[in-house]
């Protein structure tokens, strides 16, 4: 029972997290003047699910509150009440209340009657007086009778807002209708609001299924027919400029013209579609390498004849355009870090209240841009680190006063762009990390031997070992036994890394470094032991030749003196167990940043290439040090190195990579 109870809590927390996200979205869109009805409906569904879940596990109080909230949301989504700022605040407060209730044992909870009364009073007072006039006559009765009350309300709202109401009737083969329909509805949603999806087998050939899709859109019939590629039937024409003055949200002014403008000049696109385009561009840029190769071969054969020069010019032009296209594409995918901040600030506000610590949150670099995909992926690691900072990093108010600090703890989020990387720092001014205690704990957990000699940096790294943070150190707030090792793995999988610095008594900074974008990368091709590898350019700081006689040995590790810094070096041939002997000199590719720099020794440098990285199937998954494979001209495949992985292996496990 205990474990299913914790499953229950986890599931509730997930639902509330989602509800919080939706509320922020609603809040933001309300400020812009139009709330997306899908968000309200999704919030309604979230409360509905929570109610059912709580009821099933016998948490009647939670079930009753979510039921009351669900009823209020039902009124709002059916247009019987409005999503005012007060309503948004009420929902925000109650998501917090629910979260608190869930984390408390049942017997410690107080009566919820006061809560229910509050919601009920709000609901009664907010019930709108306005009644929707009958618009049934505008749309055919055979359609009206299939609509649910909610769909009918959305239909009326669309008409009231001057949107056109349209119908298309696609027919798909039964075997693949789900993907085809999904794609079509996504396209419809980009141009308006999908009101109803009615499946039908009438007048449809065997083995197929038809759909009557009804949607509202500000676009005109012609545009829709062209853009959707289907015959579109107009049920109610769009009113265009003569919009009804009433909008869903009271904005204090007539926003309808603005609404119309933004919805026609902006397109929401599924990130996967952008991925596909980017992939295609990557493949095109491969053929551009081929053209360049052909040109080189032609020059060798025919010299600089006019034809050869023509080919050269064309290939130059093509290269430039492809580069532009790539840049523009990558730009489309960029979102400001501020988007992540908003989600984090919610977490911080919530947890600070929960653990009873006062926190001053400062955020810098909101405008720093990062790839949308990476932005999504980095949220969880950041939430984890922020929770850690609040829970373990910051002292209690009493402790802080005793230590002569302000009773308000400080958490700073700072994002900056450095070259091809975005660096996000989470700094707290809490108690800091005591290296001795950290080491002692690692010994207790059997992660290292008591006698192991570690420098300060190595000790800090211990935090990222699997099994380091376990249930007995992770409190309820900072997570459910998820360790920093997960954070580290996550960043590694995105081509980034995490660092930590800390001063005892002064605070801790976690630094997350990750590439601005994925997908296409520039690599330096290197040759070693007869094999060619790609080293991501973003990880390289410089290349140079070194005489082996200048290498020094420190504690059995080869190091190289680079302008006064001693950098560890590794023969790439040893990393992958390739044959061959080291000559007198090698090329050294200096990779990594800050104190994670090291030199990779290779036989030859072959030049730069832009490649599209593809993952290598599962069977090569276990080989550390490889990020993926890429095709470079002439159907040749090169393996692209995972520099973080190699640095990791070479610096912490001291050459454990030897095959």
């Amino acid at each position: 029972m205990k474990s299913s109870e914790s499953d229950f809590i986890a599931e509730c927390e997930d639902i509330l997290e989602e509800a919080g996200r939706l509320l922020l979205e609603i809040q933001e869109s309300a400020e812009r003047g139009r709330i997306n009805p899908d968000s309200i409906n999704a919030l309604f569904r979230a409360m509905h699910t929570l109610k059912g879940l709580a009821g099933l596990f016998g948490h009647d109080d939670i079930s009753e509150i979510s039921h009351a909230l669900e009823s209020l949301l039902d009124d709002i989504r059916l247009g019987k009440s409005e999503m005012t700022n007060d309503a948004i605040n009420l929902f925000l407060n109650f998501t917090d209340t629910l979260r608190k209730l869930i984390s408390k044992p049942k017997e410690e909870r107080t009566d919820v009657k006061a809560y229910l009364d509050e919601i009920d009073t709000f609901r009664t007072s907010g019930k709108a007086k306005r009644k929707e006039e009958g618009m049934e006559s505008l749309v055919d009765e055979s359609i009206m009778r299939v609509l649910s009350e909610y769909e009918e309300h959305r239909l009326k709202t669309n008409i009231k807002e001057g949107m056109g109401v349209y119908m298309i009737k696609p027919i798909f083969p039964l075997t693949e209708f789900d993907t085809a329909l999904g794609e079509l509805t996504d396209r419809i949603k980009a141009m308006g609001e999908l009101i109803s999806t009615m499946p039908t087998t009438e007048d449809v050939p065997d083995g197929s299924i038809g759909f009557n899709l009804m949607f509202g859109s500000p676009e005109l019939l012609d545009t829709l027919t062209t853009d959707l590629g289907y015959e579109v039937e107009e049920l109610v024409p769009a009113k265009g400029a003569e919009l009804a003055p009433e909008t869903v949200v009271p904005t204090g002014g007539d926003m309808s013209a603005e609404v119309l403008k933004t919805s026609t000049s902006m397109v929401r696109v599924d990130i996967n579609k952008l991925d596909r385009i980017l992939n295609t561009i990557g493949e095109i840029s491969l053929s551009r390498h081929a053209i360049r190769r052909i040109w080189t071969e032609m020059t060798e054969q025919y010299g600089h004849s006019p034809l050869v020069i023509d080919v050269y010019k064309v290939s130059q032009n093509l290269e430039r355009k492809i580069e532009e296209l790539q840049d523009q594409m990558l730009e489309i995918r960029m979102v400001p870090v501020g988007q992540i901040y908003r989600r984090l600030s919610q977490v911080i506000r919530r947890y600070s209240r929960e653990v009873g610590k006062k926190i001053d949150l400062k955020m810098f670099g909101e405008d720093t841009e990062i790839d949308k995909y990476l932005a999504e992926e980095i949220v969880d690691p950041l939430v984890h680190i922020v929770r850690n900072a609040i829970d373990h990093g910051l002292e209690t108010q009493e402790e802080r006063i005793k230590a002569g600090k302000s009773e308000v703890g400080e958490v700073i989020l700072r994002a900056t762009q450095r070259g091809n990387h975005v660096v996000v720092e989470v700094t707290d001014n809490g108690r800091g990390i005591d290296p001795e205690r950290l080491k002692k704990k690692a010994v207790e957990k059997g992660l290292i031997d008591a006698g192991t000699d570690l420098n300060r940096k190595d000790i800090m790294e211990l935090m990222f070992l699997p099994g380091f943070s376990t249930k007995d150190v992770v409190s309820e707030v900072s997570g459910r036994g998820v360790g920093l090792d997960i954070v580290k793995d996550k960043l590694g999988s995105m081509g980034g890394f995490v660092d930590v610095t800390s001063e005892k008594g002064e605070g801790t900074t976690f630094t997350l470094t990750l590439p601005i974008t994925l997908a296409i990368i520039k690599v330096l091709m290197v040759k070693v032991g007869g094999e060619t590898y790609g080293v991501p350019l973003s990880s390289i700081s410089e290349t140079l030749t070194i005489e082996h006689s200048t290498l020094q040995s420190i504690e059995n590790r080869k190091v190289f003196n680079l302008r006064g810094d001693l950098l560890p070096v590794t023969w790439l041939r040893d990393v992958f167990g390739l044959p061959g002997e080291a000559g007198e000199r090698s090329f050294a590719v200096i990779v990594g940043f800050g104190d994670r720099r090291m030199g990779l020794l290779v036989d030859e440098l072959l030049g730069q290439h832009e490649v599209v990285i593809k993952t290598i199937g599962e069977y090569l998954d276990d080989i550390k040090g490889l990020a993926g494979a890429a095709e470079v001209g002439r159907h040749e495949i090169v393996l692209v190195l995972d520099i973080e992985g190699i640095i990791e292996e070479c610096t912490t496990r001291k050459g454990a990579l030897h095959v």
Partner: protein, 122 residues
């Protein structure tokens, strides 16, 4: 043996309905997590009764009922709506579209079993 299809997007509610129905030895159940899944399953699945929610993402219960009632393959399969007390209007519409019965959530297992017994002459 009778096959009942449960169409409901909440996994919790789905398993509750299944438990209630599988009390009968003569009944087996198939589940669809949305109206969408239901219409995907229908052509390949012999079904003797459909129990459906109304409010679901993508294709809702009313659209499912309308779909089945317009196709002779499923025209005569009985349909029971299970939905919340707030969906009074929607349930009424469902019956108008050709559903055989409706039950209000949270429901009494005996109500559902009673209707099933009657439909199948158990």
């Amino acid at each position: 043996m009778k096959t009942i299809m449960i169409v409901e997007d909440s996994a919790t509610t789905r398993s509750m309905i299944r438990a209630v129905l599988e009390d009968f030895d003569e009944v087996e159940t198939v589940e669809a997590a949305s109206g969408f899944e239901a219409i995907k399953l229908l052509p390949s699945q012999e079904v003797d009764l459909v129990v459906t929610d109304i409010n679901m993402p993508d294709i809702n219960g009313l659209e499912l009922i309308n779909f089945m009632r317009k196709d002779e393959r499923w025209l005569n399969i009985p349909i029971i709506i299970i939905s919340t007390e707030r969906s009074e209007e929607d349930k009424r519409r469902g019956v108008a579209l050709g559903a055989n019965a409706y039950i209000t959530k949270p429901f009494d297992p005996e109500d559902l079993q009673g209707i099933v017994k009657e439909l199948f002459n158990l």
